[in-house]
Symmetry: C4
Subunit: 266 residues, 4 copies
Amino acid sequence: MPPPLSLSLPSPPPPLQPLSLLPHHAKAPSHSLALSSRPPPSSVCSVVPARHSDYFDPRAPPPPPQRDVYGQPPPTPAQGTPGARVFASYSIYKGKAALAFDPRPPQFVPLESGALKVVKEGFVLLQFAPAVAARQYDWSRKQVFSLSVWEMGTLLSLGPTDSCEFFHDPFKGRSDEGKVRKVLKVEPTPDGNGRFFNLSVQNRLLNVDESIYIPITKGEYAVIVSTFNYIIPHIMGWSTFTNSIKPEDSQPYSRPQSSPELEWRR
Amino acid sequence: MPPPLSLSLPSPPPPLQPLSLLPHHAKAPSHSLALSSRPPPSSVCSVVPARHSDYFDPRAPPPPPQRDVYGQPPPTPAQGTPGARVFASYSIYKGKAALAFDPRPPQFVPLESGALKVVKEGFVLLQFAPAVAARQYDWSRKQVFSLSVWEMGTLLSLGPTDSCEFFHDPFKGRSDEGKVRKVLKVEPTPDGNGRFFNLSVQNRLLNVDESIYIPITKGEYAVIVSTFNYIIPHIMGWSTFTNSIKPEDSQPYSRPQSSPELEWRR
Amino acid sequence: MPPPLSLSLPSPPPPLQPLSLLPHHAKAPSHSLALSSRPPPSSVCSVVPARHSDYFDPRAPPPPPQRDVYGQPPPTPAQGTPGARVFASYSIYKGKAALAFDPRPPQFVPLESGALKVVKEGFVLLQFAPAVAARQYDWSRKQVFSLSVWEMGTLLSLGPTDSCEFFHDPFKGRSDEGKVRKVLKVEPTPDGNGRFFNLSVQNRLLNVDESIYIPITKGEYAVIVSTFNYIIPHIMGWSTFTNSIKPEDSQPYSRPQSSPELEWRR
Amino acid sequence: MPPPLSLSLPSPPPPLQPLSLLPHHAKAPSHSLALSSRPPPSSVCSVVPARHSDYFDPRAPPPPPQRDVYGQPPPTPAQGTPGARVFASYSIYKGKAALAFDPRPPQFVPLESGALKVVKEGFVLLQFAPAVAARQYDWSRKQVFSLSVWEMGTLLSLGPTDSCEFFHDPFKGRSDEGKVRKVLKVEPTPDGNGRFFNLSVQNRLLNVDESIYIPITKGEYAVIVSTFNYIIPHIMGWSTFTNSIKPEDSQPYSRPQSSPELEWRR
């Protein structure tokens, strides 16, 4: 039932990108060598994990682009000041591929009253990168899939033997609609102890037809569940609502008027 | 067993409201057209979802009224300042209706000691709107139901085949008691993969007798569970209690006195 | 199997306390009357609930004492200032008794390094009050039980048919040890849809032998579970740890030294 | 099946450390005596717990070292100021051993854009200490195990009858690789009501071969689950990401460009 571990790359693989993340990392190739000499920790609980993380991990995805997904440069506070943007992801490294989960914030607009309103939910960007050598992943060839809140809920509710498929067309409603087709499949591993995440991308614009598999252990899936439960209320903006609750500004109570808006049970 | 998807509107439908949310949205009708030409994403996991959200989503409920449920205008900070009120909801759009979940904060009163006390739990306002065209919902005809913490707990504990009914009379204890009767039913879909949310409102004051159904997929229900687990401690005011914990103000310890108030296990 | 709903009060009941919480509440007796004329909302899901909450709820427990459990007056900020103490509880009102859950913060001490350390976990104070009339509870006769983190965990892990008992002696280790014995029992209701919370107190110092039962619906128990999961990390002080994480103060990395303290997996 | 409760200490036990945590604690030996005269609370729910916590608990692990795991002295704010570091742990005390869970923060680096990026996930340090007398534990002989996020997820997903083993080599990839071997085993107790945590350490550098067992009740495990679910998003840095969401700084929206980075479902 579960698909074989294969990596189809019909288009010739692009030249391997230098994996340096920050300037001084490039100066420490021996660090990278030291890393690749470490065997993975093992566990009898589940699929043998091959992941670990280290400082300036050469396997990690590069930092996000200076221009964000909304086509705007982000505000640039002084380096490392309180309130600066923080990027965090959850990365899983396996033999044939790596998968990183990156949460992205919701969008707000100001209302005339001075209040703010969520107009667009955030999401979690899944980034799949193929392995090109032992513990090396080519993030320049990554394929991405932005998981909506509803899709995250679907993964949360997935029983251990359930499967799931999501279809995305990044150009839906635009002139290139139908030219890129992405399918994310999540299905149980044969031993029932984990899951495969499989992203297939057919891109007729770039003549690309790729499929990347990565096995996820039960423990890693539990981390996904824990982080999704945490992040959902945040990328829906509910946490900014709760942050705006000011007990000391609570209004004096007056009897609610009768109106459909003011339904009261009690 | 599950009720048929019907929309009873004995009273003549009111004229369709213009769906503009903000002034400059009304200037972009072509954006709305672009939207309605997009087919919904699909999934093999559950009931086919027909929801998506976009900037200034023409399907979304209008912003909350300037006067809040307590009959008071909210404090009006300068536009977009830190600490401004934030409105967030979770909206689900389907073929015949839309359903929005809006959290509302608890109420506090100051005590003589200078501390604050929660005097009224918050709630989650459910807003049901009927569809009037493809991807268009008439929020002027919405019906609302304010879900208490206890009712949210009941939905959290609902097994996949359980059903649930809540009865509200917004005028309970007042002169118009009994003239408006609301029933919220939550029951499993025939395939067991989702749930129907059904709000019936009998309003003898307005001569209205409506019933709105909306199917909720398993993934959407998982989002509801995740957001309810998040929001319950906040609308009960427990988060304002925890925010008031100041480690640096922790009192020097002295042996507790013996009194019923000071029960200690150890 | 489940115990009968009985209320044993061998000592003569004390005179009923006036239920006013704040001065101006005493001026509104008609409000109280209006309240007691409201029938409870009903639900087909579970034990019929008889709870609701209102502004200055005459049924609610009085505000906490000016002197806290550590025998110290709390710091008194100006009324309603940001950062003021906030009291929040979760109260369940039934025909024969009411039960309020009040979270209490952990205690901290400063270390020589300037950091702070949790020295005592917080707890949740359970307050049981007998009903003395329809929708009136005598909080002056309340019996309390302080639920530790470990006991909260036990309630979280309780299966639907499991029972549980906790024994407390508030004077354990002191001269009056053994003179007061408290037993909290949690057991399933006969229909399996809820739970009984039963607090028995034998106090030989005051010649009191009381037992208070209150039925808790499945939905109310789900609220307890949700609030316990929320509050446990806070009353253990883990949230003050996480609040003290300052990304901008993150130290430059240096290779950890080898020592038992510095165990590293990778 | 479950291993016998044994404590193997082939190397001669080091001299017992004075258990004073803070200067004035050493002056109160009678307090310690008072403590050890208290019988443990009991419960019919599970393995009889022998844990309790008290102010300046003589059983508790000592405060963390002035130099942290990264070999750097932590920043030292004035004593007890807001924003000071806070140390919190979850400690379980049993007849033969104590086990403390200490969360440790992630590491961040500034990016050129001024933003910050998580470069190393935090972890939870497990500290096992053998009992040396009634309610006395020798933390100078503690053995530690740093539990990664992935391992925490594995414990979260452990069914009631599942077992689990993790292997760590603190010197993996360094010259002393293979000289220290740690194995953490988690397995069900014979009655199925709890779990054994067992840490075995073979340290050929110090000629140590130790194994420490501690039984964990179902309620204590539920606290572990609750705190792990809470702490995972924090030690992954996701909470610093969400804290950096500023609704008032939300960017004006512009149509996303088409690029692999900008995948959109809708």
